[in-house]
Symmetry: C2
DNA sequence: GCAGATTATGAGAGTTACTATCATTTGGTA
DNA sequence: TACCAAATGATAGTAACTCTCATAATCTGC
């Protein structure tokens, strides 16, 4: 990796770090792009070269692809949901406590700020594709198979429900809740 | 209803009609609030008195509460999902063909325009609450019961999946797909 | 190590969604 | 008719973007 790329990665990380700090300190809405740019010591123009929108600083998360990899790599005898649960455990195991706390903080921020909540929609829609892909691969079905896609929709739905719930409760531990939600779904969602 | 209220309802409808027409004719992004206001013969200030955001003109939909009513009123022997399916049939039965077509058009518009897609997130989050409320009432459980909320999340998830799918395919008939998705969910989502 | 081609940056101007304020008009009411 | 409350429009302002162009930093072939 040349100097150029390293510098870009560093600038990107710096912008995001300052953005998240400012969001935490004074709220998302009260933080302007100009403030973020000033804190990161770049011009506002440059900000938009690194992030397409202000929202993106809170949403950008390189974990997703890692998670999908982990899910695909889970033992074949697990059910699709078993694989997802296993993948969560694997990914969390690779992160330090601080990193987990950062993810948690960002997660809650996103679900609490109405302006940000909207922006995750695309991530959820994309999530359906990714999770359907995993299930398709593990069960030997087509990724656009109706049952697979519908199932993936339900998976994303229970995630959504869990996150919304967790965002409302400040002390909520959403990781155990997430696991519980997946187990319930795996059992066919008995009411 | 006095003249004042009737006039307001008419203005609201006029704004929305012109907005949706312009979105269809020239795209959502290319349509400005000023253009909508001009078409509806009101000032831009007035536009924002009727709709909090430009997005809201595409999202505002008085059907939801009607649907919830219908779901609560379904025969007690139906499963919660059976009740939802019944409610869909009842609500559609009350609309004219033109109205159904309007709903369909708006639904597709919202899921196709990235800027609008984000805005439905809140509606889905709210949808979880509403559907959980219906299920809770019909099964005699608490509305914040874990299983109920998780199940409601899954319901919303399969709706989301169905709509996303339908938006990608221009000829898709999403109503039968929706029913099929609910039946699959009712069966415990076998893969 | 240097010249020339790429690429990153910053500055400036412009658009648009939205907010706040205030004067004016319009509809409801006694 | 006279008064009050609510609806409207005009104006000014903020902030998130977008576009363009000049300058500065890196990279590449010699």
């Amino acid at each position: 990796m040349g100097l150029r790329e390293r510098k870009k990665a560093k600038t990107r990380a710096t912008i995001q770090r300052h953005a998240l700090r400012l969001f935490r300190e004074q709220g998302y809405g009260a933080t302007t792009v100009d403030q973020i740019a000033a804190a990161a010591e770049i011009s506002p123009s440059t900000f938009f070269r690194y992030f397409p929108t202000k929202e993106a600083t809170a949403l950008y998360d390189p974990i997703d692809p890692v998670f999908i990899e982990a899910a695909i790599g889970q033992p074949a005898e697990l059910s699709p949901i078993g694989a997802l649960r296993g993948a969560v455990r694997v990914v969390l195991g690779q992160l330090s406590e601080d990193e987990i706390e950062d993810v948690r903080r960002r997660q809650l921020l996103v679900f609490r700020e109405p302006e940000l909540r909207g922006a995750i929609m695309d991530q959820f829609a994309e999530g359906i594709d990714l999770i359907a892909g995993v299930a398709a691969r593990r069960t030997g079905r087509a990724p656009d198979d109706f049952a697979v896609r519908n199932w993936a929709g339900a998976v994303v739905g229970v995630l959504l429900s869990t996150f919304v719930q967790a965002a409302a409760d400040p002390d909520a531990e959403y990781l155990p809740a997430l696991d519980k939600a997946l187990v319930h779904l795996d059992a066919g969602l008995p009411l």
